[in-house]
Symmetry: C2
DNA sequence: CGAGCCGTTGAGGGGATTCAAGCTCAGTGG
DNA sequence: CCACTGAGCTTGAATCCCCTCAACGGCTCG
């Protein structure tokens, strides 16, 4: 992991969390990036940074929101059940994204949030943000920016991944997964059932498309939930269809 | 139109816009509902309330945002072009909804916004909200609430309207249109091409489904873009499929 | 080693798309 | 007044793509 250099005044024996926050690789891009170092020192004690294994529920839809989270590493999916009992994944979040923001408004969580990979979070209690927000309008502004970002991503997800033939949807999903995997060519490979819930396809169709792309060399499997992606082949395949 | 009673101190000969704002039927539920009457008086001069015919573009995707709008009446659609040139409608907004919020962050508009019906708007310049937001934290809170509401609606749209067989999607869309038409049984009927862009279907499939529902008595056409909906029949049809 | 989950593949049917032809209706101009 | 026009809607027929049902193989774990 890349660590930021830590100024001396942030190095505290009494507050180990201060170090974690100060060194946090996503801080500059994350929620509290807008805060000055002094504020960081004041809040560190209240912040927890849990590490969760894959397929762990972070919160449920409808649950009263008590905290907001920054994703420090890993991939999180947002899902909900449709009126007829189907599970649909409506969006993914990755490193640097803020999730569960509705907690700040004392609203119940809108979607169920589940880890797709092992995930490192930064858990920020609701009250803490409320307190800071009144003093710090930069934080408020940053929060609104995050909300807009989530809305933009939701729109892009709906526009790009929910129509067209199955092959194209899977290709576009691979592009999205590549983006989330930090521009490495190794990506997290969802279970076929999850791919179906993301794209509105059945398990079998998702499987067929993946197998086909593997035969074409766009994709190469590594173990269970990992694969390497040939970005050029992906681009070419998207251009053709 | 329902009018609110207007307190004397808001009745000003010099500021005709003050009356419009004070009488605004959606004010209590709208963005500035959080403001006290004195603030309302101060801002009215800067606010415009345009009326637009159907099929008018309010703003384009990517355009630098200069204003945020409250929908006072009518229906607005958010659309964008996918990477392969398809038009997708990602969400609808109705009475009381706030649109173009990204302008407040000095970001370009994320989607193209187009009127579906004749629409009455309330146009609020970006600077105005910025000024007020620093003085009034209730306004800031209300803004965040709107953002969350938009995100929730986007999620519901994606989850409910983008998968399942065509018949069910059309039925669910009718339910959504009924909700937007203020619980009257008369709804705005989109063009078939727009229904396709909302549901990820072709014009022909949308047409077939509508015709079928009309034959079943779920729907009765009134002129070009209007229809009456039998809510019970709709509920029954949704339960069966 | 069997159980269970996940992924793969095949066969068949059904639903959506595609291609095509008419239809209605509003607006236009002879 | 009415043929003419064009846009939007409807319907049919054929095709194709995806879903359903089913069987099987690999893998992990008790």
């Amino acid at each position: 992991m890349l660590m930021k250099t830590v100024p001396p005044y942030l190095q505290s024996e009494n507050h180990p969390q201060a170090d974690v926050c100060a060194r946090c690789e996503v801080r500059s891009g994350a929620l509290f990036g807008a805060l000055d170092p002094n504020s960081i020192v004041r809040i560190h004690a209240d912040i927890d940074d849990p590490s969760l294994p894959a397929e762990t529920r972070i919160y449920a839809r409808g649950e009263p929101g008590t905290a907001v989270y920054t994703v420090r590493a890993g991939i999180v999916r947002f899902q909900r059940l449709t009126a007829d009992g189907e599970r649909r994944i409506v969006r993914l979040a990755g490193r640097g994204d803020l999730i569960g923001q509705e907690a700040l408004l004392q609203l119940p969580y809108a979607d169920e949030a589940v880890t797709c990979t092992p995930v490192q979070l930064c858990r920020i209690p609701r009250q803490l943000v409320g307190k800071l927000g009144q003093a710090d309008s930069a934080l408020t502004h940053e929060l609104m920016r995050r909300w807009q970002q989530a809305l933009e991503q939701a729109g892009a997800w709906a526009a790009e991944l929910t129509s067209g033939v199955a092959r194209r949807r899977v290709l576009k999903l691979l592009g999205e997964l590549s983006r989330l995997s930090g521009d490495s060519d190794e990506i997290w490979m969802p279970r076929r059932e999850d791919m179906g819930a993301m794209l509105g396809l059945t398990i079998e169709t998702a499987s067929r498309m993946v197998s086909q792309l593997r035969r074409e060399g766009v994709l190469r499997s590594l173990g269970q939930r990992r694969a390497v992606l040939d970005a050029d082949a992906l681009a070419r395949a998207l251009a053709v269809v």
